[in-house]
């Protein structure tokens, strides 16, 4: 059986295909149309997924959509009616989107993809739950999903058993942790979607002295459920979702480009602590209510690495599985997996052991590009390529690393990455300011050999998708400044030979050359979606301060460009 999963029309539009128990392809539309978090119908992503699977739409048995649009529409209409007349302008602005796109999913699938059967709609949080549990290695597990909002639900928990998922409880709109995080992100002068990670990083620079204010607007229960005091918010009234009353409590919002002050740091810190507290209470409750040994996480809030790490370190659950595409991109995969099991009655899909599910490019196409762009290059065999790249990183060069299939989800994990020496004390500023063109406070993650992770971090076990942070061991502080955040933590990705192949070999070689079992890893982009094609990689390389580009088996040196 072959199922195509889709998500779109809000953000992170994506497509995924499950064929005979294997996740064969999954990718976000933004990688093709080059619009960050692109919301459009993922036509290019679908075309790629089909071609990657070696099939056409005629071979698709079912199309699964990640949301029940009419249910969501019902909630939206009700919210606008309740908020009338203040919601009127927003209603007029958003209705065309509903009528043109969101309520016309079946039409788009039929017209754009020529798929004749009815589309199967899976509830938003059920899609998230499926994306976490059904592709996890666990036969049974508790499931927790937390995000902005789906139809009504903003968070759910339940239990997965075999191919069955039971959602036990939902928390409904507008009482949403994801929305709250986005509201404060906007309040702090950042863009929603791109700014949440910045707020998380910023939080470590402040003190949580606004925690009381957050407690005032959030009625938090022991089980992690909560109610927002809606008097502080203005939902469905336009882009700004906080109101004057909120500003009375937190002060004036930060305008774009305004300087960042301690107050902003402290608000970010307070929000982050509140988020962790909520998620921890939810996880504790889910553990108590289900008695399960394992926990699966998905939904946009599961990209909050600090919160994830606190769940892990509390130790109620023996292990976690966090869907690497935890946001709505992963929901396309979840919807496909859910339909694959419920409609198809198939056995469990194989666990998702990699997120390298996107496009890859042949050596021939890379060489054609390099020759036609008159790039001087060396073609090296695997061992020589690894040795040469490690040598350059050890010499404090910044390397653009483009190998194999692109990663599904927001993280670059060694296939579309910028790599650098974590021991270089100037590297963080160089990368942030000169190469990535972003705020200087933002930290970088480390890709570390699994067998050496405990040498440098207070961490044992696996973190394959860089969705966890770890404290740097006190005796190693100062040794890896480029990946050390202000609170002496680092986001880590653990590498194994079996899973990470040539990327593992590169870090192992770097270890052999320098004695450091890790490399700084950040996504291969500059204020744009992660590069998808060799041409985009070459363009990013040419326009940035990256010293050396490795594409497939080819090495291009900036000095020769």
């Amino acid at each position: 059986m072959t199922v195509l999963g889709l998500s779109c029309y809000y953000h992170d539009a994506s497509a995924a295909i499950i064929r005979d128990g294997i996740v064969v392809a999954a990718v976000q539309e933004e990688r093709f149309d080059r619009e960050r978090y692109s919301p459009v119908f993922p036509i290019q992503a679908v075309n790629f997924c089909l071609q990657q699977a070696g099939i056409t739409i005629y071979d698709i048995d079912e199309v699964a959509f990640y949301e029940k649009m009419y249910l969501k529409f019902e909630r939206t209409i009700l919210a606008h009616v309740i908020g009338y007349p203040f919601t009127f302008n927003n209603f007029v602005e958003t209705m065309p989107l509903w009528l043109k796109d969101r309520l016309a999913v079946s039409f788009a699938v039929r017209e754009e993809l020529s798929f004749k059967k009815p589309v199967l709609y899976v509830k938003h949080h059920l899609s998230h739950a499926a994306s976490a549990f059904l592709v996890s290695p666990f036969e049974r597990a508790a499931i927790l999903t937390v995000d902005g909002v789906g139809e009504y639900a903003c968070a759910t928990w339940g239990v997965g058993n075999g191919t069955d998922i039971q959602i036990k409880k939902e928390q409904h709109y507008p009482h949403s942790l994801g929305l709250l995080y986005s509201i404060v992100t906007a309040f702090l002068g950042f863009h929603v979607f791109t700014g949440e990670g910045k707020v998380m990083a910023l939080a470590e620079f402040g003190e949580p002295d606004h925690l009381d204010h957050f407690k005032k607007i959030i009625d938090l229960k022991d089980d992690g459920s909560f109610r927002l005091d809606t008097r502080y918010f203005s939902f469905n009234r336009g882009a700004k979702m906080h109101n004057e009353k909120f500003e009375e409590l937190f002060g004036a919002p930060r305008g774009p480009g305004e300087p960042m002050t301690d107050r902003h740091h402290n608000i970010a810190a307070s929000l982050q602590r509140m988020t962790e507290e909520i998620v921890l209470r939810m996880a504790r409750h889910v553990h108590k209510a289900t008695g399960e040994r394992y926990l699966c996480l998905a939904g946009g809030v599961s990209l909050n690495v600090t919160a994830n790490s606190r769940i892990r370190s509390e130790g109620q659950f023996e292990d976690l599985y966090i869907q690497p595409a935890a946001g709505d991109a992963g929901a396309a995969l979840g919807a496909a997996a859910y339909v694959y099991h419920t409609v198809g009655g198939n056995p469990r899909v194989q666990p998702m052991t990699t997120c390298a599910l996107g496009p890859e490019f042949s050596n021939h196409s890379v060489e054609v590009l390099l020759r036609n762009r008159r790039a001087k290059f060396q073609k090296l065999d695997r061992a020589a390529l690894v040795a040469e790249t490690a040598r350059r990183i050890a010499a404090n060069q910044v390397v653009g690393w483009f190998k194999g299939r692109s990663e599904f989800g927001p993280r670059a994990l060694g296939n579309r990455s910028i790599l650098a020496n974590p021991a270089d004390p100037t590297m963080r500023d160089r990368l942030n300011l000169a190469i990535k063109k972003r705020e200087g406070f933002r930290p970088f993650g480390a890709s570390v050999l699994l067998e050496h992770v405990s040498d440098y971090f207070e961490f044992e076990g696996d973190s394959p998708y860089m969705l966890l942070v770890a404290n740097i061991r006190p005796d190693k502080l100062g040794s890896i400044p480029a990946v050390t955040h202000v609170n002496n933590t680092s986001r880590i990705q653990t590498l194994t030979s079996e899973r990470d192949g040539v990327y593992y070999e590169l870090v192992r070689e770097f270890y052999a050359q320098t004695g450091l079992p890790m490399i700084l890893n950040t996504s291969f982009n500059r204020d744009e979606p992660i590069v998808n094609t060799p041409a985009e990689a070459l363009k990013c390389f040419d326009e940035s301060g990256i010293d050396c580009l490795v594409i497939n088996d080819y090495v291009v040196d900036k000095a020769t460009r």
Partner: protein, 359 residues
């Protein structure tokens, strides 16, 4: 059913070697393989031609997705005797097109091959193997109809490109066959470098108005207007591709498409597929290298180089270079012209001509 190749002569004493652009200043675009031929092709200070410059100025090249192709096919699928007519020359591109139409797009195609007397036997063999393996209906049409026109074109020293009137003829034939056998689509094996994809929905996309073709197209039209008067069999022969299309559309509103415009696969991928699945192979010789064109094509290419300093294959290869399918070096290598004179003589002998007629 391979037969001896009738045109290959061995032991030729002379070789005709012509470099691209020779006789025309010899400057070649540093980004593609087109020579500078003013006024239509001009190089800037960096040696980049105006066509490459225009391409670079494009914000984004137009997108042609496979889903669009399927959308077009599905509108007429199952409503006609055949879903499409596939023009098969036995080359890699058209054989792959037939393979994709049958297996990938699950169509009921009619394969159609013509031979104007200069097709290679092993190319025809490729078609026969493909239609047998795929189990598709097949029409093979052999004719001497075009021979007199070819002969007149060469003998008159016209600068018309032999392939141009030929393509007007075979497209006319394809429309007639599509009408005769009730096929709503004519499928060609055109690559991303051939024809104008922008017109995919409306016509076969004749490209005579592109600057690279303008001089050639004018000469072709001149030849057709002026040199066919003594040949009554061509009284109704269309004088331009546009005329042919206009006439054909009145008779049968077929849409001309190529799956290669919509697929991300390059020739290196689909050659592998048809070799494995259809037993396809390259012909012993062809111009450019790695193609499977008819033998008269050697004369056509030779004369184009003589008259313009490049061929329509240089135009196609240049597009492929721009689109990243082919490296410039590879293109130049494939387009290198090194023809055995006795082979050229053998081809011309079929028209009662000799190499003196093309000097």
């Amino acid at each position: 059913m391979s037969q001896d190749l009738p045109f290959i002569a061995t032991g030729g004493q002379r070789t005709t070697h012509i470099e691209v652009g020779s006789g025309f200043g010899g400057r070649i675009c540093s980004a593609c393989v087109l020579p500078e031929i003013k006024p239509h092709i001009q190089l800037d200070a960096d040696g980049v031609c105006n066509i490459c410059q225009d391409y670079r100025r494009q914000e984004r090249t137009p997108l042609f997705l496979e889903s669009d192709f399927i959308k077009i096919l599905d509108k007429k699928r199952g409503k006609h005797r055949y879903d499409c007519l596939v023009m098969c020359s036995g080359g890699k591109d058209s054989t792959a097109a037939l393979y994709f139409m049958k297996t990938r797009y699950k169509c009921n195609p009619l394969a159609f091959t013509f031979d104007h007397g200069f097709e290679q036997n092993d190319a025809i063999d490729n078609v026969r193997k493909a239609v047998d393996k795929l189990g598709v209906d097949f029409v093979f049409f052999k004719t001497n109809y075009m021979k007199d026109m070819f002969k007149q074109l060469i003998r008159s020293k016209s600068k018309a490109v032999i392939c141009h009137p030929c393509s007007i003829w075979y497209m006319d034939l394809a429309y007639k066959m599509a009408k005769r056998f009730d096929a709503p689509f004519i499928i060609a094996g055109w690559t991303k470098g051939q024809s104008k994809k922008q017109e995919v929905m409306s016509s076969c996309g004749c490209n005579v108005h592109q600057p690279e073709y303008r001089a050639m197209a004018l000469e072709t039209q001149k030849f057709l207007d002026e040199e066919l008067n003594g040949l009554p069999q061509y009284k109704d022969f269309p004088r331009t591709m546009e005329t042919m299309l206009k006439r054909a559309k009145k008779e049968h509103n077929a849409t001309v498409l190529s799956p290669h415009w919509f697929l991300p696969y390059g020739p290196e991928e689909y050659v592998q597929i048809i070799k494995e699945n259809l037993g396809w192979d390259y012909t012993a010789q062809s111009y450019p290298k790695k193609s499977t064109n008819c033998m008269l094509n050697f004369i056509s290419a030779h004369n184009s180089m003589r008259d313009y300093g490049y061929t329509h294959y240089h135009v196609e290869a240049s597009k492929l270079v721009r689109e990243g399918v082919l490296s410039r070096e590879e293109a130049l290598k494939n387009l290198r012209m090194d023809f055995d004179d006795s082979m050229l003589g053998g081809i011309l002998g079929k028209l009662d001509l000799d190499v003196g007629n093309i000097r």
